[in-house]
Symmetry: C2
Subunit: 622 residues, 2 copies
């Protein structure tokens, strides 16, 4: 066994010879950004081997400069360990979810706060029971049922009880001196406790995203959100989009269970953190609601997602599903507590979108509303007169910083806002840290500004320095640099960045953004066609998701990502999915409603539309 | 570790120093008769240590003769292992269930065969589904539901499905080329199989007795019993009555789980044997019905039975219970298959008695019928005009050979019938083997015959040789032998028995039988009092259980175990409990009926009746 030390964490682990550095990091619990899932095609997982270096592989040679190789940089997914090693992990590739989380808790997430009333099927009843005697030989269970009956609980004769609860009863009720609290949900006893705990009743809602998992601990008595915690989805090590996850799950026997386990461990961490902060006992969590995209939904349940990805894109189940905590191996909640999975709409429009539709109330509006969730998949929903149409456009990961030369996630050190006038460039850096790259919202701003100045033309070409508008200052002009693969624009000089490298926008970066925005805009156009209404009829646009919250609306309109509407008609709705999960956690009526909505949404499969390609090409133009 | 060899099995195991021989035997899978459960109070577990002998303990000295000690006999529950040893297990203490089983399959167990119709909620439906396409993106689950709907299956929208089944679906239905068979029970999908298997539908009923466990494999399509298999309940090593089992379960943490595991292993063996014989796949077993006394019911479920035994005798649950195979750890059946537990009547009148009431149809008769199940607990049910009263009388294990000087179970070598006239003694030996002892039915015969000849008087005293009737031959007379603790009667001389020891009936043996029969008869009297009807009103007696099948009715009446009725009015009903389990396995109506009956039975607690003691003393008289 080799001894491997990771810096700056100073974590030591033992590893077999031949283990990749990425596998070793995974075992050490160190998460880094691996957009391609460790396939050696993105070159993002650069780490520094300071002791125990090995010869370079041909794949690594493609992604590493000569200087990097000389210094000891390697790709974590390719380099294998053959000696005791010390490995340093650069901060820029580490996963940092602070910003992602703050985005989730920002925005108008309380938009629907007063639109529903607390209406849980959950009931906690305190009972002070008679003790058994030779004249009263009722069984423990009979005694409890009679007690509930005296408290006017209905439908006692159909009340169900599981073996788990029965096992607890005989010792517990005697220790409680026959004073107990019984928790009932949907005609089933799901908990029995010593003494009067009738007021302790909590639920937890999870939004399982491909990148981030957020949990919201709710007091089911008041509907109040006690604490919310976000964590990076640890599956990210197997790739940053759902396609990589689906692929990973098929590689080896047990990989599907591994993905499920990873997500369960994360939920357990969130449960531990939120309950500790709120100082409550997790055994008093009786209800859980899960939303997520269809792939995350399947992986959480341990369902094989193999048929989601190839055409014709078939989920195992789209309908809502009620289950028990004990059905999910390892989930550390009361095993008899309920889990409610919101319904999915299709293989690529998941329960998270449905939750968003629900929480934004767009399902009941008469006007024409467009809901756009921007991400690797851009999900688009069009609502008109209480009817709904949805599609999913494969935008690719450009907005999340992937496949962009200096791209990065919206984390510390990312440029997230850019303004350029004739003379000056100004930008904002997340948490005012050392500049490490540019994130999606910065990228959209930058392209929008360059379009405004005419440096990028309608076809997306970054023009030559000489072609520039004569009013433009030399300062800006000279930032356009000629290259073999087209021009590039210097945004930040090397002396101002953390790693000393300048930050450019390359011609290829612009093409990536064009592909992404064209996919989404073409999706919007197809939905409009389906309804036979013109673009101008859209009365309101809702931008959902973490990214939708930070994007500059004006820039988004300018690059043609979303239709051109007055800015006050474009609203960021924050984490609409998480809010939808909270609502359904607290209200049964809203659960029923979510099922109704899911049946009403007409899903439009873009890949089966011959006119999609045409719209896509049109939408490439700026 | 020590090396321990058991003869004649030639089984070798490794054991830690200090392990008792009984524990080592348990691990070697060798079951012997240990009536006291290894507490060192019955002295029945005599084994021969031929190598590795240790000094004797004071408890063993009490039970072993000097010659036995010299030869190497020890008590398995007391002697500990400290050297490599060879241990010989005498055949007379080995558990032999052949006879027990044959008794179960004998008798009029088909009494109710035509009284019910097959009415299972189980349905198997073959579906030939359309394959998915871009024009038909229904989820797998939707596709299956639509298929069922086209087959006119009702209530599709409420159809439930578990995560286990969902996990199977995506791979299975594609491997099946979308030709599948779906099994539905109570609005839930409990199985999905490749191809058309609609005719393969089986159930298994279990009667879990304190001593014997019987399983009946049934074709749910025809109601036919395919195979029945009986096994000794392996819990017997912890004592032969329910009180010892309850006690054992309280000794250490994990003992309750151990008892559950033991019974589950036995059920698994029965499942394996019956399905192999019937050449069916156990995955096609979808329904299981369990009957047993209340303690066995609790131990099978893993419920703490601690409150069953001390007054006021409270079960955890008496009601019927539906659960899944997956709720019972280790049970090797389809995890989504159903288990139905018949209701119990009280802590000491279990579901087995209810199943007996059901299968004998006494619940619907107008006449006065007495149902008696003879065993360690004598359960008595009195039926009159479709009303039912029940009680349980602690008879003790005398009828099963325990606490009787030469007593043994009804196994090979047991004297099970005795006739004595003035001159000759005749007896029958089970399987004509070497004589090893006397079992319950033989004991009742023997006492009945001695009563007839006047050798036992009304008070139960075995009179002196000199007091005998002058007509009695010297041959019989001289068999009465005087002793310090009363007289004894020589039944078989030492030269005719396997171990060379004579078989006696001692004064103490008679007292044990008196206590047993008095308990049962007093129970009968109390029930009659409860109804305020005289003994003479009883119109029919049903004798249930293995023992009830073999007992000589005339002798039973003569010793006063049951009321004096014309013999043709006394009927042996064989294994009425097993038959009741079979019936409820095949018919939902009968399940509902069993619940109704359980509510109608009025349980009479003998220990709370001040007149019970009085009746008990009266019933001691022969």
């Amino acid at each position: 066994m080799l001894k491997i030390t990771f810096l700056p964490d100073k974590k030591n682990i033992k590893a077999d010879k031949g283990t990749t550095i990425l596998e070793a990091m995974e075992r050490a619990g160190i998460s880094i950004d691996t957009p391609c899932g460790g396939k050696g095609i993105c070159g993002k997982c650069k780490i520094l081997v300071t002791k125990g270096i090995n010869p370079i592989t041909s794949i690594e040679e493609k992604f590493l400069s000569e200087e990097e190789i000389r210094k000891g940089f390697r790709l974590a997914c390719q380099a294998k360990l053959f000696k005791d090693s010390i490995i340093e992990i650069p901060s820029e590739i580490r996963l940092d979810f602070k910003r992602v989380f703050s985005s989730n808790s920002k925005g108008d997430i309380h938009r629907t706060k007063n639109n529903f009333s607390l209406e849980s099927n959950l009931k906690k009843v305190f009972l002070d029971l008679q003790k058994p005697s030779l004249d009263d030989q009722r069984s423990d269970w009979e005694r409890i049922k009679d007690g509930l009956s005296s408290k006017k609980i209905k439908n006692i004769s159909n009340l169900k009880i599981s073996v788990e609860i029965l096992k607890k009863i005989p010792i517990l009720i005697r220790r409680a001196n026959f004073r107990i609290t019984v928790t009932i949900c949907n005609d089933e006893i799901i908990d029995i406790e010593i003494g009067n705990t009738a007021k302790k009743s909590y639920g937890i809602a999870f939004d399982i995203g491909t990148t981030t998992v957020v949990g919201y601990l709710i007091d089911l008595g008041s509907g109040e959100e006690l604490f919310a915690v976000a964590k990076t989805n640890p599956q990210i090590i197997h790739g940053d989009d759902v396609i990589s996850r689906i692929g990973f799950a098929q590689q080896h026997k047990g990989d599907l269970e591994k993905l499920q386990k990873e997500i369960v461990i994360t939920l357990n961490e969130i449960i531990r953190e939120t309950t500790q902060k709120a100082e409550i006992d997790k055994s008093n969590i009786y209800e859980t609601v899960i939303v997520g995209n269809t792939c995350m939904h399947h992986l959480f349940l341990g369902l094989n997602s193999i048929n989601l990805a190839p055409s014709p894109y078939i989920p195992v189940i789209k309908e809502s599903l009620s289950l028990k905590v004990k059905d999910i191996p390892g989930l550390s909640l009361n095993p008899t507590a309920n889990i409610y999975m919101l319904p999915n709409i299709s293989a690529f429009v998941g329960a998270d979108i449905l939750a968003g539709i629900l929480s934004t109330s767009m399902w009941r509006e008469d006007k024409t509303v467009l809901f756009v969730d921007l991400g690797t998949n851009g999900e688009v929903v069009l609502g008109l007169k209480k009817k709904l149409w949805a599609c999913s456009a494969a935008a690719g990961p450009a907005f999340e910083g992937s496949r962009i030369s200096s791209g990065m996630r919206a984390a510390e050190g990312a440029i997230d806002k850019v303004k350029i006038d004739n003379k000056f460039i100004t930008y904002k850096v997340i948490e005012d840290g050392k500049i490490r790259g540019i994130c999606g919202s910065g990228l959209i701003d930058l392209i929008a500004e360059l379009l405004k100045l005419g440096l990028i033309n309608k076809s997306g070409k970054l023009i030559d320095r000489e072609e520039c508008n004569f009013e433009l200052s030399e300062e800006i002009r000279k930032r356009i640099i000629k290259g073999q693969k087209g021009n590039r624009f210097l945004l930040v000089k090397g002396k101002e960045t953390e790693n000393g490298k300048p930050i450019y926008l390359t011609q290829r970066d612009i093409r990536e953004v064009q592909l992404a925005k064209a996919a989404i805009f073409a999706g919007i156009k197809i939905l409009l066609k389906e309804l036979n209404i013109p673009l101008e009829d859209i009365q309101e646009i809702l931008l959902a998701g973490a990214f939708g919250n930070f994007i500059d609306k004006k820039s988004a309109v300018r690059i043609g990502l979303i239709p051109n509407l007055p800015l006050k008609k474009i609203e960021s709705v924050g984490n609409a999915a998480g809010r939808g999960a909270e609502i359904t956690l607290c209200s049964n009526k809203m659960r029923e409603l979510s099922q109704e909505i899911s049946k009403k949404v007409k899903y439009v499969e873009l890949s089966s539309r011959p006119d999609f390609q045409e719209e896509f090409i049109k939408a490439m133009i700026f």
